[in-house]
Assembly symmetry: C2
DNA sequence: AAGGGTCTTTACCAGTTGGTAGAGAGACGG
DNA sequence: CCGTCTCTCTACCAACTGGTAAAGACCCTT
């Protein structure tokens, strides 16, 4: 009301993005049910109805937030998949890239955690993003196996194991914070190393 | 109303315990905010006010549930700590015992997950249970280290790593379920093995 | 200057939330 | 038979929930 007198063209995208940012943080920390649109709006200095104008409903807001995060993630993965790395190097690059995103945007981990719970309103939405990504990865891996560039293994189980490791990092970060320990990079890096070791011993033919 | 005409002495503990069981399940799956006392009561065929009679408030109910679970866990750990196992064997027995409790009462894992989130209403309560337990374990481990029966390592970091592994199992089980995979023992057993390997390589002097 | 589009607001609503007050039912000891 | 204790109920409430309707403010185009 005070400073928003500025030009509308800037404010247009601004407000919407700000709402999304605040929602991401709140959903990730307080949870979906624990987030009220009034509180969210109050925190931004706007009215709840402004939120409902940009995102039709609370559920729509959650979906938008999930979509954006999933977009960030798939975008990062696409970069790697269209890169020069091949065979095992590509797997390693993929893991490192995903962990980098997670580390750079820690709020995303909170949302991932919230939305991973089955029965969560966002679980279904997340699934629609994850499933094609997982299927694609699975096809690629199985192709590599068939071509003899990777050792034979249960690709699906491997992928799920990798996925749950990432979600596990989300949980771990918060457990650490709850234990009063300032979240550092160390445990995350350790998890990444463990995951890479696991994948290497399962897939790398040079092993 | 129909069958509860039976003697009151039985009903007394019965109702309270049933409320606690249902609350444990609901808090663990739908979350604290996602659980309404009305729904909870309806599921039990009683009125919400009956719940509020036995547990003063919703928060009180959560605390009671957390207390009971923490009691189960500390009780199990006490059994091991007063048992015959020594040195490394005791560590292994402890891990196996905790995992056994988690496997036998999977609903507890859901609650643990919900309540591990910092900012969750139950986080504080959980902490009051966990902190003395952790402190006690730490003192013991450091004593063993000083006596040369275990290799020197950062005891606190080790404990937190172990703790977050258990919480990770809670998350993983739900991720698997969300992925459409019937939760089996396998990943849990694998996590236990990984944890034991990690602890052994950190602590066991015979290694 | 006027009309239309975009955005944010005020006003309002029905349903649900956790919680309080108090009555009624049954068991038990006197 | 009566009072008391334990338990569960009905009745009610203020606060808050997500959501609707519509008016006002601002910009751009004509």
């Amino acid at each position: 009301m005070q400073e928003r007198v500025q030009g509308r063209i800037q404010a247009r995208s601004d407000t919407k993005a700000q709402i999304q940012d605040a929602a991401l943080a709140s959903f990730g920390t307080a949870g979906y049910d624990g987030t009220s649109l009034d509180d969210l709006a109050r925190g931004l200095g706007i009215r709840k109805q402004t939120i409902l104008y940009h995102f039709v409903s609370k559920r729509g807001l959650l979906n938008a937030v999930v979509d954006r995060c999933a977009g960030d993630l798939t975008g990062a993965m696409d970069e790697v998949l269209s890169g020069a790395d091949r065979d095992w190097d590509r797997v390693e690059a993929l893991v490192r890239r995903v962990f980098r995103v997670a580390l750079e945007q820690p709020v995303m981990l909170g949302l991932l955690r919230e939305v991973s719970r089955p029965g969560s309103p966002g679980a279904q939405r997340l699934r629609t993003h994850m499933e094609p990504m997982m299927a694609r990865a699975r096809v690629w891996i199985e192709g590599e196996m068939a071509a003899g560039r990777m050792r034979r293994a249960d690709a699906q189980l491997l992928l799920i194991s990798a996925y749950s490791t990432v979600v596990g990092v989300a949980t771990e970060t918060e457990v650490l914070r709850a234990a009063g320990i300032e979240p550092t990079l160390r445990p995350v890096v350790q998890r990444r190393r463990e995951l890479l070791n696991f994948l290497r011993s399962s897939l790398d033919p040079r092993d």
